[in-house]
Every structure is written in structure tokens, then in C-alpha cells.
């Protein structure tokens, strides 16, 4: 055999080393990218609220602050009389220190307000994203593996139906059906709120009570976003089914389930991971609607209140936190992607 002279053999060990370093630099690059997006988002966040039409002093005064002196005093108190670059510099400094301003409506620091309202939203969005992902991916896998079968037909049409429903409508229907009750069927679940007013939320009873209150809103968000994941998972798994490496896996004597889980699903998860991360932004926007429908005191409800007031600093803080959340989700997705697919690391 003349294989010893293969030029490919010479540089192989060196090759392997560069590839291990490749993964670290992949991670570094993604983190840098996320920090860059965060910076860009800060700039947009600042100027977006400065170019909004209307004079904050007048809007906030609801017509009561009529004299120029009063307006000047308001602008001075909130630093709005300074030149724009100076305002931006102050904004950056304050944001870096975690100071997001004072809420006009509640007269408390915005950071406290957001911190307090963050957890109900994280609980709601987190739980529904996990549930929607797990159920959606499962439905997609089962449907695609036995394409055209009864399970596939039912789950695909169900997914399409859910996909076309607005989440607020779905939420209202669930409240009407399972919260209020209909005909002679009594309502089972609470129609709104995060917990009953008379329980201590940190006691065991309180936790169970909160869970009970979250059933309908979580179901709403889960059903609304599950279809996305099941349809994407189904189509990306169908794309994999014709691949040669699945034939190899079968020829090796693997069971059908092993071929599916070890070989097909791993590859089909790649596009799905991207979609899940991209969707986090939409789920947050869905959470605004669902929190409003179910009166859950989360960030979504806070932002609606702030919009109606209007409470600029709260809105600005909400935008900051929401976009930071989306950027973080994308970073996590990139890391998972790199872990799933060796090809993107190099």
C-alpha cells in the first residue's frame, strides 16, 4: 500500500489542535457579538425615546403644567434641558450603574419596579417556552418519522389551527371556558392575577396557588407558540430523512428509535434551535398580551401601564430589559448550536 506517503497525514495532529482552539474562539466571537448588539441597542433605545413626537413635560402634565416655568422645572428635574450628547452620556453612565431613572407614575426607581415585575414574566415566558419547545419538538419528530400517518395528520392540522389563533383570543376563550365556566360546567381555574390576595406567595401554599393561577396563561402561550416549533421540527426532520447517513445507521443494525434519536433528530435540531431563539422576542410580545388578558403583574402589564401613562423611563427600561433578554437568548442559542453542530465551530 502506498498510503504511508499520504500528504494529509503530516499535518494532522497540528490540525486537531487548531480545531480545539477553534471552539474557544467561536465562543469568544459570539460573546463579543452579543456585547456589540447590546451596545447598539443602548444607542437605539436612547434616541428612540428622544425622537418620539410630543413634549414629555406637557404629556406628563396632562395639561395641568401650563406655565413655562413649570415646564422648565420639570425638564430640569429630569435633565431634559441639557444638550443631547450630554443626556446620552448621563444615560450611559446611569445605565452602567443600574440606574434606569425614576418612574413618573409610581415615584420609585425604574430598576426596582422592573426587578419586581421581572419574575412573573420570566416564570410565564420561561415555562411556556420550555413546554412549547418540548411538546412541539416531540410532535414534530413523531409526525415526520411516520409521515402521512394518523398522528402526523392530526398533529399537523392541530398545529396549523393553533398557529392561526391570536394569543389574546385563545386566552379569552380559555378564561371563558375553564375560568368562568359555561353552560352548567363550573369554572375551574382563576381568571386572573398571579396569586390569591390572601396568601403569602413564598409559602408552600403560595407556590401551589401561583402555579394554579399560571395554568391558563401558560397554556395560552404554550399553545400559541407550540405550532411554530412542531412545524419547523417536522419539516427539518423530513429534510433529513433522505440523507445517506441514516441509511448507514440502519445498515449498522441500529433500532429504528436509535436511528431516529441519535442520528436524525440531532441534525434536525439545528434549524429548530435557531427558530426557538428568534422566537423568544415574539414570546415576550405575546406575554404582554397574555399578561394583560390575565392581569398578571409582570413586565408586559407594566409596559402597557407605562404606555398609557405615559411613563417614558419605565418604557425605556422595559425596552432595555426585553432586548437584552432577546440578545441573551440568541447568545444561548448560538452556544447550543455550536455544541450541536461541529461544522459551525470552525
Amino acid at each position: 500500500m502506498s498510503l504511508v506517503a499520504d500528504p494529509g497525514l503530516v499535518s494532522e495532529s497540528e490540525d486537531v489542535q487548531t480545531r480545539t482552539r477553534g471552539y474557544a474562539s467561536y465562543l469568544g466571537l459570539k460573546v463579543l457579538g452579543a456585547i456589540g448588539s447590546l451596545m447598539f441597542m443602548l444607542v437605539v433605545n436612547f434616541f428612540l425615546f428622544r425622537v418620539l413626537p410630543g413634549d414629555p413635560a406637557r404629556t406628563l402634565g396632562r395639561g395641568r403644567l401650563t406655565t413655562d416655568a413649570q415646564k422648565a422645572a420639570f425638564n430640569k428635574a429630569y435633565g431634559l434641558n441639557q444638550p443631547l450628547p450630554e443626556q446620552f452620556w448621563t444615560f450611559l453612565k446611569n445605565t452602567a450603574h443600574g440606574d434606569l431613572g425614576i418612574s413618573i407614575q409610581y415615584r420609585v426607581p425604574v430598576s426596582h419596579l422592573i426587578w419586581e415585575r421581572l419574575w412573573p414574566t420570566v416564570l410565564l415566558v420561561g415555562t411556556s417556552t420550555i413546554l412549547a419547545t418540548v411538546i412541539g419538538v416531540y410532535l414534530g419528530i413523531r409526525g415526520a418519522w411516520k409521515r402521512g400517518g394518523r398522528f402526523d395528520k392530526i398533529s399537523t392540522s392541530l398545529s396549523l389551527t393553533l398557529y392561526s389563533m391570536p394569543e389574546w383570543w385563545l386566552g379569552l376563550m380559555l378564561i371563558a371556558g375553564l375560568g368562568v365556566g359555561f353552560w352548567f360546567v363550573p369554572g375551574i381555574f382563576p381568571t386572573g392575577g398571579l396569586h390569591s390576595p390572601d396568601v403569602n406567595p413564598s409559602s408552600l401554599h403560595g407556590i401551589l396557588d401561583t402555579t394554579w393561577h399560571l395554568v391558563l396563561p401558560v397554556t395560552t402561550l404554550t399553545l400559541a407558540y407550540l405550532a411554530d416549533y412542531s412545524l419547523i421540527m417536522r419539516s427539518s426532520l423530513l429534510d433529513e430523512l433522505g440523507e445517506d447517513y441514516l441509511l448507514t445507521a440502519r445498515a449498522k443494525g441500529l433500532r429504528d428509535v436509535q436511528v431516529r434519536n441519535r442520528h436524525a433528530v440531532r441534525n434536525a435540531m439545528l434549524p429548530t434551535t435557531t427558530i426557538i431563539a428568534l422566537n423568544i422576542g415574539f414570546v415576550v410580545s405575546g406575554a404582554i398580551t397574555v399578561e394583560t388578558v390575565f392581569s398578571i403583574p409582570g413586565l408586559g402589564l407594566l409596559s402597557i401601564d407605562a404606555l398609557q401613562a405615559p411613563d417614558f423611563w419605565v418604557l425605556q427600561g422595559f425596552f432595555l430589559v426585553a432586548s437584552a433578554g432577546v440578545i441573551l437568548a440568541n447568545l444561548v442559542a448560538n452556544l447550543i448550536y455550536g455544541w450541536l453542530d461541529p461544522r459551525v465551530r470552525t
Binding site: 497525514l9 448507514t248 445498515a251 442520528h263 453542530d341 461541529p342 461544522r343 470552525t346
Partner: protein
């Protein structure tokens, strides 16, 4: 009773159900591979040779209907229980697939993919045993054992195909099916891969079924060659004879398609075969090669010719063998 052959295919028919009707890809093929023997299957794209390969481990697509027998060590693969079949797959007979570039899973390390085959067929293997075996296998195909940690996209086409060969030999199979193992490779690498494959097969005394469109490659490596056309065997015999002195006009055309060293006529007259293979969905009666055959005559049209045995263990399916050729035919053959 004598020992059954390693692989014995009897009257195999494979028909695909397609949107435009039934597509008979394999029509009554007989084939035998003995232990230690390398048998080649030659033919154009679409002649059914890859379908034939896939049925050996019952890997044909779901829309295929298979009848006949595929006996591996005397037991019929086509009627085996799933558990038995899984045990035969890879440990009894393994396949080196056509598209090596895509036959390895892109997201698993190649070592893990070889290890998977080992674990499936012998439970409770220790980590060191498996690693040692992988190193040994990669060494045998001329790859650095370090490569076990590489992913398929980090390897060249030839290296991937060698990994595929290493994987095919992992469980010490009795039969290796090589389905166009060198199609996607350039000529130099092709020669390397073929020599690795045939050396390993000869060293271990396993049987091999080698599928290729390249009759000259098969003539070099194989003991016997089966030539297929439109789903049927048209010629079968010792490799050297089939290549050097083909009986069937189609085997002749395949053989003439490769220039011989030292034959200026062959070199300057590229001998292609005009026309395309027939659409298996719409086969006319009679010899399916007749529309492209330089020797076709009226006798070819009534019925599909049977495979007839001739001297020296040779067989061919052509009614015109032995008939004297007309001068016009001879001059056409000379150019062909």
C-alpha cells in the same frame, strides 16, 4: 449436503411503486458470492445494481416490493425477523456506501460512529477495548488514529471513504458490499481506496460484492463479474473473460468504453454506446437492449432472452451468440 454459499440471490425482483406506475428495477436476478470471493456487478446508472445492493440487507425504500430469495449463509434475509436482521446487519454483512461524502453523520466524531457499530453488536465492551479497536481499524486503512476525534467535515473525500471502509470492517463481517465505493473520488484516491479495500478483503478471506459502472476496475479486482442491463443479468462469468472477451453485446460496449493500454485504435476512437437505457416503466417485449444493440435483428424482438450457460462457467442472455456476423456488423464492432 454442502455448505450453503455465503450469499445466494435467487430470482430477485424489486419493484418500486411510483406516481407514474410500477417501476421494476430488478427483474429476476440470480447471483452467488462464496467465501473469500470478490464478485463484481457492472452496469450503467439505473440498471438496478444499487437497488440490488440495498436489498441484501433489506435496506430498500418503503415503496419497494421485493420477491425472491436473498440467502445469507442459507438463511433468507427477506423473511427474517427484525431482531435477527439487525444482528446480520454489519456483523454478518456490511456496506461501503456510494456517497461516502454523505454517508457519515456530520455531527458525530468518526470514532464515535465506528464505536457505535461495535457497541450495537457486542454489548459490554470496555472503553479501552473499543478505543484500541478503532485505532487498529483506522491504522489498517492508513489513517492516523488521532483522526478518531475528527468530524467528517474535517476529512477529505478519500479519508472519509477510508473511514467508511474501516467502519465496514469493524465487526468482522463475512460479506462486504461495496456500492460504487469510489464514485465521488478522483483517480489517484480511487486507486488508493480500492487497493485498501481489496487488500483487507483478501487478507481476511471475507466475501465481497463490488458494484461499479467501471468494468476495468472490476476486471482488476474481482474473481467473477455479473453485468446487468435494465434490471436483468445479461452476462456472468470469470472477470478476465468478461472484460477481455465479452459474449453479450452490452458487456462488449461496457468493455470497449475503457481504452486499453497499447491499443491505439481504442485510444483514438472513444467508444461510447449511443442511446439511453430504457425506462423500466415502459419496457417493450423482447430483448431490452435491442434498441441500442449493434447486432439486433428480428430474432431479438419476440421474447426477452434467457441466460444461457456456455463453456468455462460463462453465461449470457443473447440469442445471437454463436451466430456468424455479417461483414457490416464486423466493421461496426471494430469501430465500437
Amino acid at each position: 449436503m454442502t455448505d450453503p454459499s455465503l450469499l445466494e440471490i435467487r430470482d430477485l425482483h424489486v419493484t418500486y411503486a411510483t406516481g407514474e406506475g410500477a417501476l421494476p428495477a430488478v427483474r429476476g436476478v440470480d447471483l452467488t458470492v462464496d467465501r473469500g470471493q470478490i464478485v463484481g456487478v457492472a452496469g450503467e446508472s439505473g440498471c438496478g445494481k444499487s437497488t440490488l445492493a440495498s436489498t441484501i440487507l433489506r435496506l430498500q425504500p418503503v415503496n419497494a416490493t421485493v420477491t425472491g430469495e436473498v440467502r445469507f449463509n442459507g438463511r433468507d434475509i427477506l423473511t427474517m425477523k427484525w431482531g435477527e436482521l439487525r444482528a446480520v446487519r454489519w456483523a454478518g454483512a456490511s456496506i461501503v456506501f456510494q456517497g461516502a461524502l454523505h454517508s457519515l453523520n456530520p455531527v458525530h466524531r468518526i470514532g464515535a460512529q465506528i464505536a457505535e457499530a461495535l457497541h450495537v453488536h457486542s454489548s459490554g465492551l470496555g472503553e479501552t477495548t473499543v478505543t484500541g479497536r478503532i485505532d487498529e481499524l483506522l491504522g489498517q486503512v492508513g489513517l492516523d488514529p488521532e483522526r478518531a476525534r475528527a468530524y467528517p467535515h474535517q476529512l477529505s473525500g478519500g479519508q472519509k471513504q477510508r473511514v467508511m471502509i474501516a467502519m465496514a470492517l469493524a465487526c468482522d463481517p463475512e460479506l462486504v458490499v461495496a456500492d460504487e465505493p469510489t464514485t465521488a473520488l478522483d483517480v489517484m484516491v480511487q486507486a488508493q481506496v480500492l487497493s485498501v479495500l481489496s487488500d483487507l478483503v483478501r487478507d481476511r478471506g471475507v466475501g465481497m460484492l463490488m458494484i461499479s459502472h467501471d468494468l476495468s476496475v472490476l476486471a482488476d479486482l474481482c474473481d467473477r463479474i455479473t453485468v446487468m442491463y435494465a434490471g436483468r443479468v445479461v452476462e456472468e462469468g470469470p472477470a478476465a473473460k468478461v472484460f477481455a472477451d465479452p459474449l453479450h453485446p452490452y458487456a462488449g460496449a461496457l468493455s470497449a468504453a475503457f481504452p486499453r493500454v497499447g491499443d491505439p485504435a481504442a485510444r483514438f476512437a472513444p467508444a461510447g454506446l449511443p442511446g439511453d437505457p430504457p425506462d423500466p416503466r415502459h419496457l417493450a417485449g423482447g430483448c431490452s437492449f435491442a434498441p441500442r444493440c449493434p447486432r439486433a435483428a428480428d430474432v431479438c424482438l419476440p421474447a426477452e432472452p434467457e441466460l444461457v450457460t456456455y463453456a468455462e462457467g460463462r453465461a449470457a442472455a443473447c440469442v445471437r451468440i454463436g451466430e456468424p456476423r455479417s461483414p457490416a456488423e464486423r466493421s461496426r464492432d471494430h469501430h465500437a
